[in-house]
Amino acid sequence: MQEICPYLAAFRARFQLMLQYRAAALAGFATQCWWGAIRIMVFAAFYGVHASAAPISLADAVTYVWLGQALLALLPWVADPEIGQAVRTGGVGYDRLRPLDAYGYWFARTLGWMLARALPRAALMALVAGIVLPLVGLGAWAWRPPSGLAAALLFIPAFALMTALAAAILMLANVIVAASLNERGVNAVLTPLVIVFSGSLLPLDFFPDAMRPFLHVQPFAGLVDIPFRIYFADLHGSAALQGLALQAGWTLVLVGLGRLAMERMMRRLEMQGG
């Protein structure tokens, strides 16, 4: 316990700080409701023409949209803005003075940053899309609970892995930002990659069938597509386990890459005396 205390503290400090931005959370929530409504209407229109062409049912697609909007802030769109700042102001030097594993320390802070932005919005979204919509008679457009107990139980590790994977991707981005001091450039590459390949834009199976073999093994699939399909049991049994394994595998690979890159960067900073 003693060992992980500082990392927990780093996580908690950042988490509490981010929770204070209530107005931003409310604005983000309203925007995401609107977005969700548009997406769902678009889906409904296409399903209305040719439902049999769809890889999942409309009800599942609706849940997919709400879940995606609820957890939008968990996606690694942009590098943690504090990292670039810390390097520019020399705050990184302090981080090297702490008797901690620098990667673990940053990872915990980044995790706190992501979860604090995501969880309040997710709770609000669950309330509105999951509870209020059915109550006012719009149950067909509601965010449904997981499809069965197995799906619910499997979604727990899937959610944890999705969060860890997102943090691992962000960490890699953070290190590149810190090394290149080019936050905008990194974000410019990262954002479109994440939107398309995570399944945030559309569930990956909606893209042309020929692309499937590639789309289902690339790391970003573990951010949205895999966990969400586990949620409504589109992935179940061994397929679900395979999905979890893919998430876990990519997380390990990316954490390893991130650590390696970070060590190299730190060594360079030491040599420059920066």
Partner: protein
């Protein structure tokens, strides 16, 4: 020097400032282009899988997408000052500085910054328009071109008006209200599909509440030489973008009320 010429000087100054960081500006532009272009991928994937929807092929739908994105990118390029008015002008007190100059405040705010990176969205939207013109049967005769330009102008007016309203609200709230993103980014999101696929309440909101349909859906019908499947009269379609200008006029009335309020409360 009259207002328009001075605005030109402001624009030139802003461009010179951005020219000091050419690499960053280019990269931002490319990034903006990529981040906004992914939307058309989504539209394409849906049409590819499901086939035509609401009587529209992908090529026709792409015209809706292109025109609203062109209009928004131009508005977005021009209105940075209004967008950051709350956080960068009212809260910091920098707006006092603006009022100390013998020129209309709106002109100075409009001239605050012209964001070149927004050309990224414009570039991808123009590319989509070119592709759409090949896929859909559009006859680019002078009249059609005129309607397209007029449509974009109305769209720019509408989006500028929304940003002016956001800035006006900031006099009361001090912060820039990000909730307005629902109407700007969210408006683009909505208007890049033909409106007849949406639910009735949503169409009404975006016709009579914020006249987005008037600067996107209706005039594009005229460009595609199609009648409204929902029954709006044909003569209405090409003149609908007027609503964007009316909305702009209204937003400036609100802006003036905001200025009066600012003078009596300060920041």
């Amino acid at each position: 020097m009259n207002g328009l010429a001075l605005y030109g000087r402001y624009v030139a100054a802003s461009l010179r400032a951005q020219a000091q960081y050419p690499a960053a500006t280019l990269m931002l532009t490319a990034g903006h282009c990529a981040a906004t272009a992914v939307e058309i991928l989504g539209v394409f994937a849906l049409f590819d899988r499901f086939g035509p929807v609401g009587g529209w092929s992908f090529g026709e739908a792409a015209v809706f997408y292109a025109l609203v994105n062109i209009a928004f990118s131009i508005a977005d390029l021009l209105t940075r000052g209004f967008e950051v008015f709350g956080t960068d002008f009212v809260r910091t007190g920098a707006f006092d500085r603006v009022l100390l100059r013998p020129r209309a405040a709106a002109l100075q705010i409009a001239g605050h910054e012209v964001r070149l990176s927004r050309l990224g969205r414009l570039a991808q939207a123009l590319a989509v328009l070119i592709v759409a013109s090949r896929l859909a049967p559009i006859d680019w005769d002078p009249a059609t071109v005129a309607i397209a330009v007029w449509t974009v102008a109305g769209g720019v007016a509408l989006f500028v008006a929304i940003l002016v309203l956001q800035a006006t609200l900031a006099v009361w709230t001090v912060e820039s209200l990000e909730i307005v993103n629902v109407l700007t980014y969210g408006g683009v999101q909505a208007a890049q599909y033909p409106f007849n696929i949406y639910a009735a309440w949503f169409r009404r909101l975006l016709t009579f509440g914020v006249p987005l349909a008037c600067v996107a859906y209706y005039p594009v019908l005229a460009i595609l030489k199609r009648s409204d499947p929902l029954g709006a009269p044909d003569w209405l379609l090409p003149i609908a973008p007027l609503a964007g200008f009316a909305f702009l006029a209204l937003s400036f009335l609100a802006w003036r009320a905001g200025m009066t309020r600012y003078a009596s409360t300060g920041s």
